[in-house]
Symmetry: C2
Subunit: 243 residues, 2 copies
């Protein structure tokens, strides 16, 4: 049984203010939930139509019907389970190594993909502007999977953060230095900008170097790379130098 | 006015068989439609709530109401216009330079992003398995934008295609050669595999070299990179060698 007040609580977690108030977020589907548990996220409640999918019988597991799952799920085709996890306490920013900074990333799928990229490329500190989509948004959780537990994501006023950090600042934009030819240190901040507008002028003025990914298309008409794929190429460039 | 038979036709274009039968596909939103027109796609019909968005007054423009647009749109928040374009006649495969091959890519967003990547990195030939999502699927069109008009996308039985092509075959997978240290020629085929299952055994057996993107995360738990971000890193690696 899922009570009416539970349905109200869970569907309310669509909104950031309710996630913040209750200190919990939603994850859906066997794979994502399993990854988050394995990565050490604290499970508060697990609703599932198939308890066999979660072999380590958890005390907070609740068996529910398909119809009940439909009532609490936000997916078109719910996948056997929905879980509530605790939002972890914020950790201090680690100001060493490579730090990725996001200036106003709005699309949840992009943020989720970028968190997964950070995890792959060993970037454990992600600093986002307050205008960047919340990392506990359900679509971000679906796209980032277990990586959300391994990358420290914090929200800050970026100008302050960048000015106080002593790391060199690299910013991705058009018309910068060809990244393939650039000297890239092991320690630094890489800033990626908004999907439509790129980097703000303030952040640009704080940058030590603007980096660009050369365009090879002979027609030269592609407007820009998607921010997640551009992040993939740039993190790869930073990492291969020390490879 | 949008007639009932038009609504039926347009909403039916969700399905590949109707797109094929009528030889048309749907694009939505001012930006995507403008990019496709500029890239030379043949416009069959343009429905818009705001004709000012399309300054080159097109003879096939039809001014409609917000409510009519809602009836034909598949977007939650329709963006002023929906257009029908002709599916271009298939061009011959260009068997030179770098050719990207997709083995069973199912997610429309991934295919759209990959088409845009091809355009950026100057890969004008994309060969997809018959099981790969149709490139005229509405979500692919939204994600690939004008790039869809500049990249030649064809669907083939991959084993035959690879065997008949005389290009060296590179396949992306786990446990392959570190791509940063590999010799990558200017001419060749790069094969990317299915989101969940990777490359099929048959394709693997036809490969000359398996390429991997090293994982740098110290916890080494990220399962895999998303196929579109992995494609971004690999195309970047092929191109920077000749940079």
């Amino acid at each position: 049984m899922v009570s009416k007040s539970e349905i109200k609580l869970i569907t309310g977690l669509d909104q950031k203010k309710y996630r913040k108030r209750h200190g919990i977020f939603v994850a859906e589907g066997v794979k994502v939930i399993t990854e988050l548990i394995d990565a050490g996220m604290n499970l508060r409640e697990l609703y599932t139509t198939d308890t066999d999918c979660f072999p380590a019988a958890l005390s907070c597991t609740r068996e529910i019907s398909e119809q009940e799952l439909k009532k609490i799920s936000r997916l078109k085709t719910p996948n056997k389970a929905l879980a509530l996890f605790e939002i972890p306490a914020e950790k201090e920013i680690k100001n060493s190594g490579l730090v990725l900074v996001l200036d106003d990333i709005r699309d949840p799928g992009n943020l989720g993909t970028i968190i997964r990229l950070c995890d792959w490329f060993g970037v454990d500190q992600l600093v986002c502007s307050a205008t960047t989509v919340d990392c506990y948004n359900a679509k971000v959780v679906q796209a980032s999977m277990g990586s959300l537990a391994r990358v420290n994501v914090v929200y800050r006023e970026l100008e302050n953060y960048i000015q106080e950090s002593e790391l060199p600042v690299f910013t991705a934009d058009m018309n910068g230095e060809n990244v393939y030819d650039s000297h890239l240190p092991e320690q630094g901040i890489l800033v990626m900008g908004n999907e439509a507008n790129g980097i703000s002028d303030k952040i640009r003025s704080l940058s030590h170097k603007i980096l660009s990914i050369p365009r090879f298309g002979y027609m030269q008409q592609t407007e820009s790379l998607n921010v997640a794929t551009a992040t993939a190429v740039l993190l790869s460039e930073f990492r291969r130098r020390g490879n």
